[in-house]
């Protein structure tokens, strides 16, 4: 009896110790994950004389850097912000529409060639962007798409990954809904828009959020297709601005903070969907 009690107590202590170790280990990682963001924010509040001091907190926190980057001749953060927003919003709207209609068709219609169509779309996932940017650029020059919103966004108007995702979700929609609507004499597009779409809003929201994030962060293609500063997106503008800022790290960190702010807002607003979305499957690329 005594013996078994001590064994039990031993197990309990062990569990307690492992619990404490877990919190410790996880806490250290949390610090590593958050510190760069904190350091960025704090650096953006320092002036040129404090930036070198490495004091953790700015002695005279100032918003002057924000005023500088939004008014300086060398940067157009306001304009870049708008470009990013326009490109991300309109690409996301296009993806949401086309991916859901293609996903719906592949999930709920029977037609000859369906398997091939699906394979053709999914196989485009394997073509790396690094390769496509070369012909895309040639195309953009030929059609005069360089330095335009259309040029920035045309490669992302339909997402093969999104088609795959929406098809999975559309398959869970019961056929009865569609049949009932058909018997009522509804047109096929109206069935899709007014009966089906409302049933898959959560999947659609996840797709839209990830697409928005991916577009907001996109770098390689916008870098190539926009050569005029007025047509830079935020990441391209930030990269350009930073490499011209030399050792004005307080300004670079201010620019980094500005380019991150909307994403952190989206992240906090949709944290549940984002975590669920990541857990469901990998959504970057």
């Amino acid at each position: 009896m005594n013996n078994s009690k001590s064994v039990f107590a031993g197990a309990k202590t062990r569990r307690l110790v492992s619990g404490i170790t877990a919190y410790l280990v996880l806490g250290i990682l949390a610090v590593v994950m958050v510190f760069p963001f904190l350091w960025m924010l704090l650096s953006s509040l320092k002036d040129a004389t404090q930036i070198a001091s490495l004091a953790f907190l700015p002695t005279n926190p100032t918003l002057a850097n924000y005023a500088i980057i939004f008014t300086s001749k060398h940067s157009q953060f306001g304009r870049w912000f708008m470009n990013s927003a326009v490109a991300a919003v309109w690409t996301t709207a296009s993806v949401a529409f086309f991916d859901s209609i293609v996903g719906y068709t592949l999930a709920k219609f029977n037609f000859p060639g369906k398997r091939i169509v699906f394979l053709v779309i999914v196989s485009t996932l394997m073509i790396p962007t690094e390769m496509l940017v070369i012909p895309w650029y040639a195309m953009s020059r030929a059609f005069k798409w360089v330095n335009s919103y259309w040029g920035i966004s045309f490669p992302g108007l339909v997402s093969a990954f999104g088609v795959f995702l929406m098809r999975q979700f559309m398959m869970t929609v019961p056929d009865d809904f569609i049949d009932a609507a058909r018997i009522d004499g509804m047109g096929e597009f109206r069935i899709f828009a007014t009966v089906i779409l409302p049933l898959v809003t959560s999947a659609l929201a996840t797709l839209a959020i990830f697409n928005f994030i991916g577009n907001w962060n996109a770098f390689l293609w916008p870098l190539i297709v926009s050569s005029k500063p007025a047509m830079f997106t935020l990441p391209v503008g930030l990269a350009n601005f930073s490499s011209e800022s030399g050792s004005d790290w307080q300004l670079i960190m201010t620019g980094a903070t500005v380019s991150m702010a909307p994403l952190i807002a989206v992240f906090l607003a949709f944290q549940k969907q984002i975590i669920k979305g990541i857990a469901m499957t990998g959504l970057k690329g």
Binding site: Y23, T105, F109, M126, P128, P135
Partner: protein, 295 residues
């Protein structure tokens, strides 16, 4: 017209525009690039000539190409195992706790969703030499000599790897944790009652059940590292993949060939090599893991 014919027509009506899009923006460009890789294609070349495999011969004789593809191999071979192992370790720890689990998960996801350009510059700032760099300051205060980091050709590549591991880690932790939580609790309970140690439960029950997820993550992360570009572009001086080409990746090499030298034919050839590498690595991994799975 029969009903099924009408349905098929509707289906193709819905699919027409997206299919046209995939052909015009994915397949046709890919085909065009493949053909042009056998020419002296350049942005300012008026006369395009067929050159056969000259572009391939040229890149394989180019030390910078070999260096950048070698670097990419190191990025992948160091970065992928690092992010997978760390992801698994932290997911297992995260599974042990009940309180604040969601909070930790949220914090870990933060680097993954923020713009890579911005975090690259933040890390570049932290990697600065004394007296500016906060990491060197920390090392010195611990009695460790200051390091060159991004200025040191022996260290720079590993700094870039570390940053990308930091970016991707949260993604791996979240997916691993989701996988761990699908392990039936009865299985773990039964093993515990039988007196199996926690370590044994992890090794014998949880890890084998995580194999499909691990495979998925290894493939995804290997592709991420094979394609690494933005971090290198933003963390090296003048975006040149330095110092001394020590961080230059395959993707950056292709970018420079195409958009700095406007030597599109060579860039096309190099990008086909990268594409082939990605395909082979992916297929090998699928095969390797499949074999290990059916015991």
């Amino acid at each position: 017209m029969t009903l099924s014919k009408k349905r098929a027509l509707t289906a193709y009506g819905f699919l027409a525009l997206p299919l046209l899009y995939f052909v015009a923006v994915r397949f046709a460009p890919m085909l065009y690039l493949t053909v042009m890789s056998a020419t002296n294609w350049g942005l300012f070349n008026k006369k395009i000539k067929f050159v056969g495999i000259d572009n391939f011969a040229k890149i394989f004789a180019d030390p910078v190409f070999l260096k950048s593809f070698g670097n990419t191999a190191i990025y992948t071979l160091v970065g992928t195992p690092a992010v997978i192992v760390l992801g698994l370790v932290f997911a297992l720890e995260l599974d042990k706790i009940r309180k604040y689990q969601a909070g930790f998960r949220l914090i870990y996801a933060l680097p993954y969703i923020t713009p890579v350009v911005a975090v690259s510059w933040v890390w570049r700032w932290m990697f600065q030499q004394p007296p500016f760099g906060v990491i060197d300051a920390l090392l010195v205060s611990l009695g460790i000599p200051a390091q060159g980091f991004l200025n040191d050709p022996r260290e720079a590549l590993f700094c870039v790897v570390a940053v990308n591991v930091w970016v991707e880690l949260g993604y791996c932790v979240i997916i691993f944790l989701a996988g761990i939580q699908t392990v039936p609790p009865q299985l773990v309970e039964a093993a515990r009652i039988d007196g199996a140690s926690e370590r044994k439960i992890t090794r014998r029950i949880i890890l084998p059940l995580l194999r499909p997820i691990t495979l998925f993550l290894v493939v995804m992360e290997a592709i991420q590292f094979l394609r690494i570009f933005t971090q290198v572009y933003n963390m090296s001086y003048q975006a040149q993949g330095g110092p001394l080409d020590s961080t230059k990746s395959a993707a950056l090499f292709i970018y420079e060939k195409a958009f700095t030298n406007f030597d599109m034919g060579t860039a096309a050839a190099a990008s086909l090599v990268l594409f082939a590498v990605i395909m082979v690595v992916t297929l090998l991994q699928l095969k390797f893991f499949d074999k290990k799975m059916d015991y």
